[in-house]
Amino acid sequence: MSGAGALGRVRAGGRRRLVVVVGMLALLLGVIAVLALMLGDRVVAPQDVLAAALGQGSGGDRFVVLGLRAPRLALSLVVGACFGLAGAVFQGLLGNPLASPDIIGISQGASAAAVTAVLLFGASGLAVSGAAFAGALIAAALILLLAGRVGRSGAVGSGGAAGSRFVLIGIALAFLAQALIGYLLTRADVRDAQGALLWLVGSIGTVQLPQLVVTAVAAGLLAVLLALLAPRLRMLQLGDEAATALGVRVTPARLLLLLVAVAFAAVATGAAGPVAFVAFVSAPIARRLVGGLGPALVASALVGAAVVAGADVLAQHAVAGLQVPVGIVTGIVGAPILLTLLARGNRTRGAA
C-alpha cells in the first residue's frame, strides 16, 4: 500500500518536473523566436514583432518579420527538433552515447551525396537537399542491410554488443563516405570546394518557401509516427526480454524506430546540412533536465530546436557584419556549453 503510494508520488513528481522543464524550454524558445524576429539590419521592436505576427503593423515590418525572418526561424526550429529527436531515438535504441547520426554514417552519407551533387553535377538549392536526403536514406539502408539478420534478436542493435555491431558498420560507412568527400574536395576547383564546405558545416541561409513546407510537413508526419511508437521505445529500453514480456515484438519495433530516426536525420540534414553536435547532445541534455530513464522525446525535440534556433541567431548577429554558418556556432559556442551542462548532470547522477 504505502509502497504503491510512494511510487505514485514519485511518478507525480516526475510528471510535474517534466511539465516544468517543458514549460521552461518553451519559454526559452519564445525568447529566441522574438530575438530572431527582432534583430537584423532593420531592428523591429518586440511589440511591433507581435503586431506584425498578428498581421498588423507597418508593411515594412510585416515584410521583414514574416517574409524574411519567420521562414528562417521556422526552418531552424524544425531542423533542430528533427536532430534532437533523431539523436534521442538512436541513443535510446542503441544504448551507446556515440550513436548519433553524426557518428554512424547517416550524416556522412548525406554529405557525400550532397557534395557529389554540388561538385560533379553543379547542383544547388533544393536539388542538393534532395541529394542529401537520398544519401542519408541510402546510407541507412546499407547499414541495415550489412548489419543484417534482422530476424535475430538484437541484430538491428540494442544495448551492448549487438548495438555496437550496427554502430560499427555505420562508422565504417562513414569513413568510406568521408574518403569520397576527401577525394572530391581535392579534385575539384578550390572555389567549388569552398562552396561544398559551406554546405558540409551546416547552414540555414535564405530559406525558400517550398523547402520549408516540405521539411515541416515531413517532420510533422514523422513526429506523429514517433508518438505512436514512443511507448515501445520506452519498453525496449528496459531490455529485450522485458520488452518481449510486455508484449512488444522487438525486432519490428526496433526496425521501425530506427527508420523513423533515420528519416528525422535525413529531413534535417537535407534542409540544413549536417549541423554539428545537435543530434549528439540534445537527448542527453533533455534526459538530465527531465530526470528518469525514459527517452525524453518532447524535451529532446525542444532542446534541439532551442540549440539550432539560438545558434542561428548568434550566427547572424553575434558579430556585426559577419554572418557565419549555423554549424560553426553550434560547434564553437554550443559544444562547450552543452558539455558543461552534461558534466553538471553527471555529477548529480553519478557515473552514467
Binding site: N96, P97, L98, I103, L146, A147, G148, A161, A162, S164, R165, V167, L168, I169, I171, A172, L173, F175, L176, Q178, A179, G182, Y183, L185, T186, V190, R191, A193, Q194, L197, L198, L200, V201, A276, F277, F280, V324, P325, G327, I328, V329, T330, G331, I332, G334, A335, P336, L338, L339, L342, A343, N346, R347, A351, A352
Partner: protein, 358 residues
Amino acid sequence: MTRAAPAAASARLIGQRRPARVLGLVALLLGVVVAALLSLLLGSRSIDLGTVLGILTGGGPAGAGTGTGAGAASTEQMVVLDLRVPRTIIGLVAGAALGLAGALMQGLTRNPLADPGLLGVNSGASLAVVIAISVFGVTSPVGYIWFAFAGAAAAAVVVYAVASGRTGPTPLSLTLAGAAVTAVLTSLITLVLLRDLDTLSQYRFWSVGSLVGRDASTVLPLVPFLVIGAVLALVLGRGLNGLALGDDVARGLGQRVGLTRVVAGVAIILLCGSATSLAGPLVFVGLVVPHLARRMIGTDYRWILAYSAPLGAMLLVLADTVGRLIAQPAELEAGIVVALIGAPVLIVLVRRDRAVTR
C-alpha cells in the same frame, strides 16, 4: 568447485595458445616485410626485386650489368631511394603508431567504437596545420610536422583535463569531452577555410592523409616520441585488461587505475600525434586495426597491442601501394585507400563476429 580448478584450466588454455600467438606475431612481422617490399617494388614504374635489393644494399643497381643504361639505373635509384623508401618508412611508422594508439584508446574508453581521433588529436593537429598555412605561410608537409604535433598534444591535453574534472576521467566523460573539443576545433578550421581560399587549397590535400612529399629524415626528430609511446603502450596491456573489468574490479586486483589512464593518455598523444603529423589525419587505421587484432587473438590487451602495431604498419603501407596502382597515371592518397580497404574489412569482421568483442 574450488577456485583453483578454473584458474588452472585457464592457465592450461593460455599455455596452449601461447605458441600459436607467437607464431601469429611472427607471421604478421613477415607480412610487414612483404608489404614494405611491395611498396618498394610497385608503382607507376615497377622495379624488380633484384634491382631494388641492389640499390638498397650497395647503392649501385644490380641491373647495371644486364644492359640497363646508366641513366635508367640512376632513375630507378632515385625512385627507390628518394620516393619509395621515405613513404614506406613513414607508412610503417605511422601505421604501427596508429594501430597501437587505437588499441590504447579502445581500452582506455572501454568503447570498441573509439578511435584515437576522439581524444581531439586529429582536430588539434588539423587546426595547427591550418594556422601554419594561413598565418605562417608554411607550404610543405615537412613544415607542418611540428605544428601538427603541438596541436595534437595541446588538444589531447585539453580533452583529458576537461574530462578529468575533479574525479578523474571516465570512459563517458572522455568520449564527450573529445567530441566537444573536436566540434569546437573543426568549426574553427571551417571558419578559416571558408574565408581563405589559399589555405583551403593547401589544407585539403593534407587533410585526406597522404605519405607523399615527406623526406625519410622527417621521421628522425619524432623517433624519441614514437619509441617512448610504443614502450608505454606495450607495458600497458595488463592495466588495460584490468580497466576492461571495470574500475572497481581493477582496483580490487591491486591495479592503479588512475595511473593506467594517465599513462595510456600520454602514450596515445605521443603515438597518434607523431603519426598524424607525419601522414595527416588517418584515424581509420586506429579504429580498424584493433578490431582485426581482437578477431585474431581475443580480448587480452597485451596481445591486442602486440598485434596492432604490425597490422597497422601493414595496412597503411599496403594502402599507399594500392593507391599508386589503381588510379594510374594519377595516385589516390593513402588516407582514401585506407578507407576503401579498411571499411569493407571492418564490415566483414563485424558481420562474422557474433560473440562480439569488447
